[in-house]
Symmetry: C2
């Protein structure tokens, strides 16, 4: 099969490798229908040192089950499924509490052990806990926009949803979303579905913030840093935002977050932090009783209701995809996202 | 009147100064019945550079209203009141949302403008919003233990309560309390009233942890650092604590907090952080979706129900006081708390 590997910063290659095989009785093999490139893939794309051995890439996929291990009970070949971006048993204490990304029997794709999902076939560990069937949809005949929206449930939309969920967005709240990437826009859409009264989107790419407005952003702030903070404070009558959804992961976005959060408010981060230490003392979080929350989205926890929302046409998160490539053109897809020519790139098989 | 001033590290003095007077029509003057020394007073007691001008000290008080300004409507001379450790109008947007410590018309005691409360008389700004009457108690004839418990509602007990409240303690939760000072013990007591299933108290002063056990601690961990973390992880079957209440404020206590918090759990800080930057990235908070919350307790938000609990004998938080001094002996009180000979020192007038 063909699969995607990163050999170092800027060096994405599509190679032909042996097909994956069942290794554990809890595994399944899935044939990919759609995969995609994630904003978080751009971090190693910028910084990975050159390596002799390519790192398998990709963690978002919808596909058709090809084969299941002997212990898999809920799936069979031919099932059309969504794979959350992390795998999990979905039965342990943490999974039951809704934090599947901390499952002790779970893990991440894109390692030599589990491979990546920007590939024609994928081995899915803990398949019963990790794959969710999409009922009554035949991917061969499905509307491409439906497939696009279902693909976002693998990561990007439900990561935005997780931000809003952990931030306790509810009717009457003012929400500020930092970042106009695909996750930030998804956070806008999710906040709208939760009834946020006002949604301020901080971003400066008009084509993106326009989609944000369609999805519910009531205000767009293009300024950054101190100017951006001042603008949000102005918009909120000097009081600040009840909820801040941080969908970037860089320090300036975090600094904006505690700059605009209201006393007693919540900062919810889903951009993977590219820092370890940051201000949390009296002058940033503590003095105003600000809450900091968020982390890797336990997509599995949110999948069934989100599939229903997509199938019933309540949400159309697939609109984040503005470019499609075949597997051979995945490197061009990375380059387009890196250059911000594309918001999010889909890989069609 | 006599009042307490800090001139530098270790240099507490009680001096005779002019009585405070009404400055604003919203002020009240209160004659102190009981005041006390706070753990947070020990921070400047350790570190304040020598100054020619003493800094007024103290922010906890119960007393009797002596005089009210022309705009004060809810109080009159003779009322027996509790003063929360911060003053506020209790009408602004932040106050209505329960975060009175962020009131734009509020502020802190212990400044040259407002004075301190370790004093025979105090000027209370925003008196309608800042003083709460204790119904049907005559302080002259009251049981000393009742007065002690009422005094804790000025700060220490309700700071522990705030930690538990922000940490969302509820039945079925495992709570770890870091710190066996008066706030930590109060957090134990508050967690018990909220129905916590298990309360692990991290502290190594047996006389204090014994009171913690009486108040509901089910386990005591004397170890600190990596050893202490390992012990709590053992006690929780390797899963960690749903809620961590951090009642110290130093970095090692924060490090213990993210070491023992369970995936998806909450760290709630009420120890005033003696640091600004700290780890919050993938390896500390983000990776396990841990929430960080807490700040200065909005005591005013919690006062009425807590007064009822004390008057009805449901809680006895006044037991944190293990020493009493008169106003002239306040410096000895600081020294006793600093040497950990006393848990918390009351000042009787």
């Amino acid at each position: 099969m063909k699969a995607t590997f990163l050999y170092g910063a800027g060096d994405v290659r599509v190679e032909t490798v042996p097909d994956p095989v069942i290794q554990q009785p809890t595994d399944a093999i899935v044939r990919t229908v759609r995969a995609c490139v994630c904003g978080s893939d751009l971090h190693p794309y910028h910084s990975m040192p050159h390596s002799e051995h390519g790192n398998p890439m990709g963690h978002e996929l919808i596909g058709v089950v090809e084969e299941v291990g002997a212990a898999v009970t809920s799936l069979r070949p031919g099932d059309f499924v969504i794979a959350p971006f992390a795998f999990q048993d979905n039965t342990c204490a943490f999974c039951r509490e809704g934090f599947q990304t901390s499952c002790p029997h779970g893990g991440w794709y894109g390692t030599p052990q589990t491979g990546g999902l920007q590939a024609e076939l994928a081995r899915i560990p803990q398949a019963d806990g990790s794959l969710v069937k999409v009922p009554d949809v035949d991917p061969a005949g499905a509307d491409p926009s439906l497939l696009a929206s279902l693909l976002t449930l693998s990561d990007v939309y439900l990561t935005g949803y997780h931000a809003a969920h952990m931030g306790r967005v509810e009717p009457g709240r003012t929400v500020t979303v930092i970042g106009d990437g695909a996750v930030g826009l998804s956070a806008v859409l999710a906040s709208r579905t939760m009834g946020a009264e006002r949604i301020i989107l901080m971003g400066r790419h008009t084509s993106r913030t326009d989609l944000g407005r369609e999805w519910g952003a009531t205000d767009v702030v293009a300024e950054r840093g101190a100017e951006g903070i001042a603008k949000v404070m102005d918009l909120t009558g000097g009081e600040g935002s009840h909820v801040v959804l941080e969908a970037v992961g860089h320090m300036p976005a975090y600094e904006q977050s505690y700059g605009v959060v209201r006393p007693g408010g919540v900062i919810s981060r889903v951009g993977v932090p590219q820092y370890e230490e940051a201000p949390i003392g009296f002058g940033s979080l503590f003095g105003k009783n600000a809450t900091l929350t968020g982390g890797p989205a336990p997509v599995r926890a949110y999948l069934e209701p989100a599939i229903r929302q997509v199938l019933e046409g309540e949400i159309d998160p697939g609109r984040v995809f503005d470019r499609s490539v075949g597997i051979d053109d995945v490197p061009a897809g990375y380059a387009a996202m890196d250059a911000r020519e594309a918001l999010k790139v889909m890989v069609e098989f």
